[in-house]
Amino acid sequence: MSDLLRLATAGSVDDGKSTLVGRLLYDTKSVLADQLDAVTRASVDRGLSTPDLSLLVDGLRSEREQGITIDVAYRYFATPKRTFVLADTPGHVQYTRNTVTGASTAQLAVLLVDARKGVLEQTRRHAAVLALLGVPQLVLAVNKIDLVDYDEGIFEVIAKEFTEHATRLGYPIGSVLSIPVSALHGDNVVTPSESTSWYEGPTLLDHLENVPVEADRDSAPDAPFRFPVQYVIRPRTKEFADYRGYAGQVSTGSVKPGDEVVVLPSGGRTTVERVDVHNGQLDEASTGQSVTLVLADNLDVSRGDLIASAADAPTVTDELDVTLAWLSDTELRPGARLLVKHGTKTVQAIVTDLRARFDEQKLSTVESPELLRLNEIGHATVRVSEPLPVDEYAVSRRTGAFLLIDPSDGSTLAAGLVGKPLEVQP
């Protein structure tokens, strides 16, 4: 079983995400004494009788003033079973882009709903974002269950509605679990609740500790080797006068000396001579490892190139069929001239065609929309100034992903995914 779980929270504003995270940290004794003192003091100042656990995570002044989360907060905690990296993301629709940030690397998401309100527009929006980005496991935490008198019927209605929705977004049975919780009182967060005797499933923490984490597709042993070149290492020192190494991080697959590789987009072929690390060599390097490759032949390789398995190379194309999650206040219209950042390469791009907009509420598509607005998801064709070696996002969360960047001010406009990773079931 994996020792590390990366998770993100999501859900509508006021559903109690920060309180839940605070409760999780508090009940796992991951809050240290001085942090708790500070929260207790601040809660007393606000006239509260018990510590407001959301103050543990809402780290910005404006967040505490408004009582909402604006930006992702990263938290690190551990139990004897697992270590957790938790991205607590905002619920407010205006800050959905920060939820996308938290979800892009998550293996599991905890989506909250208020038991009194049930599944809301923002719940469906977040579920679509999580499905699009390929977060493999979902937990629906039906929060504030104390405020509906721990009513089983209300829980069941919400759980059923959400599970059906998630199934249509492509989540198989078994990848979605619903739990009745009260973050405020701690029911079923770490300790099983006595008020929900009708609920027989695990507590949230139990589930987080035991859920099988699908080994990242990218680190599957049969995944093809992909290595975006970050930097050319040429020491030009006496000792290493002729050294030329290509520094990077293995995106997917593995590499060892003797492997046949192709350098893209040029297409030059050679073999790997050595896999270097500081003061030594490796027999093999795999997904996520930062190494330096020395190649047998002297090819022209520079930052932005991709070194890939010669037997299983990606498609090199200057016309990309993509899905976009639009994250900017400005609108996207066909013809827009932007930058694409893919791997270690940034190229100019034109969005030549906006083919469809995805209606994440009705789970339907609108053909040929005029534009995409903040938080909307759409299918598009993007032409790039230099051909890029890409994989489908459904195959690789690394080489299938890119950013769209505004060339004028450098801001990140969209999360780009190659292909159509979001396939809606009828």
Binding site: L32, A38, L60, D71, Y76, P235, Y243, G248, T292
Partner: protein
């Protein structure tokens, strides 16, 4: 029922390897995309780990950027000696901005409480401006403090060096967007996802040397605001503050006027790891007066351009 262990992202060497690879990837991205990066280096444990990682990232080539230290003039002598040793050993270049120079020129005024930590911001921003640095590496970690928990790995600063938390860019996958306009720069935090315990375990694994004050030693200290402070160029005990000689060590290393020692017998890295695991206080809560000033002390300093 669950009993908890102290937070850490590490259960095995694999997890440390992951953190190391992530940090090296970040260093190389910056080297590939920026014109003039610089590493903030104080001789403290986090920035020492940062330099160690930079050396690994570019081996066998030299680290392709200089170091910068904003020296408050209130630093511990052991730390400054250590700083200069590291620079020499790795053949690096170090630029030093002395806060005292800004005070002498009248560009900064000494604070009534004598602490110089908040005074570092102006010399830092001036040095970034004068050096035309476009990427500035810092050793900040998200587990240190709740405003830091919100920081991106690539954190854009405007022409005034300010952090604008509401305008942070989405940071997706491991695609870091470092584009900025002239005059703006990017702060880069390769240790974002490390915890205090991760740092110590890495120091142990890599046999990284540290300044001696991180380990137990006898020192004369006086108590102020619940912290053990040492005498130095920044001043000594005030009336009514009794001097004790205790066995102490430092958990963080900063301006001597506001960095407290903790009572400790930990003489080795193993001892320190055991102590950190058992501690019920965060490193900043235990030792930093500057973070106790208000509920949003760190956020306010960051908005002004602090590390």
């Amino acid at each position: 029922m669950t009993t908890a262990t102290p937070p850490s992202t590490v259960d095995s060497l694999d997890a440390l390897d992951r953190l190391e690879s992530e940090a090296i990837h970040i260093f190389r991205e910056v080297a590939g995309e920026f014109d003039r990066p610089v590493i903030l280096f104080s001789g403290g444990k986090d920035s020492t780990v940062l330099v160690h990682l930079a050396v690994k990232a570019f081996w066998p080539a030299p680290v392709p950027f200089p170091l910068l230290h904003v020296d408050t003039g209130h630093n511990f002598a052991e730390v400054l000696r250590f700083r200069d040793d590291v620079v020499r050993r790795h053949g690096l270049r170090l630029e030093i901005a002395e806060v005292q120079d800004w005070i002498d020129r009248g560009a900064l005024k000494e604070r009534p409480d004598g602490t110089r930590n908040p005074l570092q911001t102006v010399p830092l921003l001036d040095s970034i401006n004068d050096g035309k640095f476009d990427a500035v590496f810092g050793g900040g970690r998200r587990d240190e403090e709740r405003a830091r928990a919100k920081e991106r790995i690539f954190s854009l600063r405007n022409a005034f060096g300010q952090w604008e938390p509401k305008r942070q860019r989405p940071e997706l996958w491991n695609l870091y967007n470092g584009r900025h306009r002239p005059g703006e720069h990017v702060r880069v935090f390769p240790l974002s996802n490390w915890t205090e315990l991760d740092v110590w375990r890495y120091i142990q694994r890599e046999s990284i040397e540290l300044p001696s004050i991180y380990f137990t030693h006898r020192r004369e200290v006086h108590k102020r605001d619940g912290m053990w402070l040492a005498s130095g160029p920044w001043g000594g005990p005030r009336d009514g503050e009794e001097v004790h000689e205790l066995s102490v060590r430092y958990r963080t290393v900063g301006d001597g006027s506001c960095t407290g020692a903790v009572e400790s017998e930990a003489s080795t890295v193993d001892d320190v790891i055991a102590e950190v695991q058992a501690s019920r206080l965060t490193e900043r809560g235990a030792t930093r007066a500057d973070d106790r000033m208000s509920e949003a002390a760190m956020e306010d300093r960051k908005r002004e351009g602090y590390f």
